[in-house]
Point group: C2
Chain length 468, copies 2
């Protein structure tokens, strides 16, 4: 799959299927993005010739210049085989087919899909699609056939996202942008006639710029589920692979049939299988974000399930306890001595109203420095394996600097720390203070607990296989 | 509890415990809010006299004028009994005690708390607190002792929120404001020395401006759990009561001990009990928002569990199927005839690529009018009880008018309809279009499914008791 590297960083591209009359045609949208937004030399192609956006249109791939590294094909399904053959003859190594009308529409489409896979293999073309929305690499490449204003583009970062559903992928991009989580690439694999999720997992497994691989999968072809988990197993010791599997309920499974017509063959790849191979299995979209985000920070390991919790609101501690309990994490009560040690470093006036049993509630009277000093003490206790900071910044003594200050306390310790701060503009300085200093911030208490759960699951797997 | 009405709409107020030297003192924050933000005549009180913000300070409640309807007390716990007695002698009927240092700090505090309850009862004072953050009524009253910039204030609306945790309440206000869900009041009951969650449920049950009552409860005193559900049972036929119970896990329950020191007596009030009395039991904060929001729209009933789903992305349909399955909702496949009827009204060019089995996937090629016309057909089918619209507006044919247009289709039918649209600024027109026309919008697929689950639970209860 050497073509993948070129596909994600091509020097010259072509778009087959532009319209000289309709600027909203998907091919035209892709052409404008590649040529004007990504600044790549891009040849538009249409049998009728003419010009698009002032650029001359080539009548065929064959008639276009020879330096094309990536061709994006957006023509009706029945024309795709001949265009792909031309690409092969021209030794273009990377092709994305965004056209629909293949296996997702029944038997005739399925046979057309086999045909293009055969052509791609014959010519050594690396093919993504058909029935996909394309590939997005921040600052490099955007082949999505959707107007720019419709799709958020997260900043460059270290999460690679691979999705069998274009809609799901778009939704994640919106969410990643809103949460300021950077990505290294977003891949819509569509019907996966040739390259599939496993190929991309292997590719990103080798890419040092990627810290986390996130995949949305509805189904695997016969035997391909095992390939997938085997590939993950090799990568997991180096970087986490997070998977959401759509169609896990019977109803959802039935729904996948009309979508990408995934085969039922390896439907049985289950939570147990994911766990066995060290794959982090997200059960819903909230967990997807929690795990992808926390692992993008390369968090410290969590060598047991015991969490020390620090809040400024008793109710938050209660909610966190319930959530932690759901995930099998514990909050062991601190001993009298531990409680006294933490109480001692609080501002004297508030020592009497703060509570230190675990969860600890410093109350709305606490200040930044109380929070810092109690955390410093707590992280020294060998009865906990991680700290959870619940920080609704409503307490008047909490300043916008608390994120950076507390993160710097955490840096001095070996235990993993995650925080909860609501994702509101007014708290951006706090969130940024945490995150620039390596502490992931969840935007709900639940998400912060899920982050710890992800870290614990991964750490336990690595302990079990003797890697930590 | 006639004092509650006055408490939530007082004509004249007093704040006991202002500082003449420290403007950040909680009493001063409350004074400024009442006097300057709510525009209420407000008397500041401090034994030392002087002035605050240019207003003369009275040396005691006794020395203040006689027209006070609500007094907010923010003095150290040990002084609260005598101040409260003065309020009683002065015939002030409503008092909020924000001071901490009562049952939450142990036996001495608990006995002080009994004392103030006794005084309140003796003088027929309606008392909220102690250890609470106060009461917020949009456009009327804000006694929260937190600086305004720290706490969002949702617009006026029809959800009444009652919380045993101040932090939890603040967090909901942030979330309600961010989601543009209006509230009628937000009450922090604190330690509930006298008035408790049940009193407020009864009060809001009688208030026609309230469509939904939302309560966060950690525990009930001995016997009070039964009072609560009995009160709910009387109200539920008229309006939904949504409850999140903190401390449901063993760990969470332990955590409540150090928080509001709730008694374990009625800890056993469980999901089964809530269901039996028609209370909508939210299991986490996501469900809280889903249920509170959807019921604020007074949605149509859902007479069975069958959902017809309409999306522009197959992946969304798959995710929704999984979520629905979790909640016991079904998406029965449409018959060949039903599928043909929906297909027939699609734009001819896209009839071949759309899928109508349920979930229906109109694909990214669909336009507003396709969506409208297919929904119109679907809502006629007697094989479904509700419609779920999944509308990530990435498809170029979907305009910002789609919300209002589709909501108007829904208006003509008896079935309940909810939508999913991501809560992003760029889609505000779509969301507003739906919501101004009576369709609640979830900001995740999960939330939209939870909304249907809430409607179905309530409808089923009302069916079971013969009310619909």
């Amino acid at each position: 799959m050497t073509g993948l590297k070129t596909m994600l960083n091509p020097k010259v591209t072509a778009v087959v299927g532009v319209s000289t009359s309709n600027p909203f045609n998907p091919g035209n949208v892709i052409f404008r993005k590649l040529a004007f937004e990504n600044g790549l030399p891009t040849y538009p192609v249409n049998p009728k010739g003419g010009t698009v956006e002032g650029v001359p249109v080539h009548k065929s791939i064959t008639a276009a210049p020879d330096d094309i590294e990536l061709a994006v094909i957006s023509v009706p399904a029945r024309f795709v085989p001949s265009v792909l053959t031309e690409c092969g003859e021209k030794k273009i190594r990377s092709v994305i087919v965004v056209s629909g009308g293949f296996s997702e529409v029944g038997d005739a489409g399925a046979s057309l899909q086999s045909e293009i896979a055969t052509i791609a293999n014959k010519y050594n073309i690396t093919l993504v699609g058909p029935n996909c929305i394309g590939v997005f690499v921040p600052d490099v490449l955007d082949t999505f056939f959707l107007p720019s204003e419709r799709v958020a583009r997260p900043r460059k970062g270290n999460v690679a996202i691979i999705s069998q559903s274009g809609g799901w992928l778009i939704e994640r991009l919106e969410e990643f942008a809103a949460r300021d989580v950077g990505i290294s690439a977003a891949i819509s694999i569509g019907n996966a006639a040739q390259t599939n999720v496993t190929d991309f997992v292997k590719h990103f497994g080798q890419d040092d710029r990627v810290n986390v691989i996130l995949a949305y999968v509805e189904g695997f072809g016969e035997g391909l589920g095992r390939d997938f988990v085997e590939a993950c197993k090799k990568i997991v010791p180096t970087k986490p692979v997070v998977v959401l599997k759509g169609g896990e309920s019977e109803a959802g499974h039935r729904a996948t049939q009309s979508h990408t017509s995934s085969l039922a063959g390896d439907y049985a790849i289950s939570n147990a299988a994911f766990n066995q191979y060290g794959v982090i299995h997200a059960t819903d979209e909230d967990e997807v974000m929690a795990y992808a985000k926390v692992f993008s920070f390369k968090p410290k390991f969590m060598l047991g399930s015991r969490v020390g919790t620090l809040s400024v609101s008793g109710g938050h501690g209660v909610i966190a306890s319930d959530e932690a309990s759901y995930y099998g994490l514990t909050m062991p009560p601190f001993s009298k001595e531990q409680q006294a040690a933490m109480r001692e470093v609080m501002t004297p006036a508030y020592q009497g109203i703060a509570s230190f049993r675990n969860p600890c509630d410093l109350t709305g009277s606490a200040s930044d420095i109380d929070y810092e000093q109690v955390l410093e003490k707590m992280l020294e206790f060998d009865t906990i394996d991680a700290a959870l900071l619940l920080l609704l910044p409503y307490a008047p003594g909490i300043s916008l600097q608390i994120g950076a200050r507390v993160a710097n306390v955490a840096k001095r310790h070996k235990k993993t720390v995650v925080a909860y701060v609501p994702n509101l503009n007014k708290y951006e300085v706090i969130i940024r203070g945490f995150e620039l200093n390596g502490i992931a911030v969840g935007d709900t208490i639940e998400e912060a607990v899920q982050m710890l759960n992800g870290i614990r699951k991964r750490s336990k797997y690595l302990q079990d296989i003797g890697k930590i």
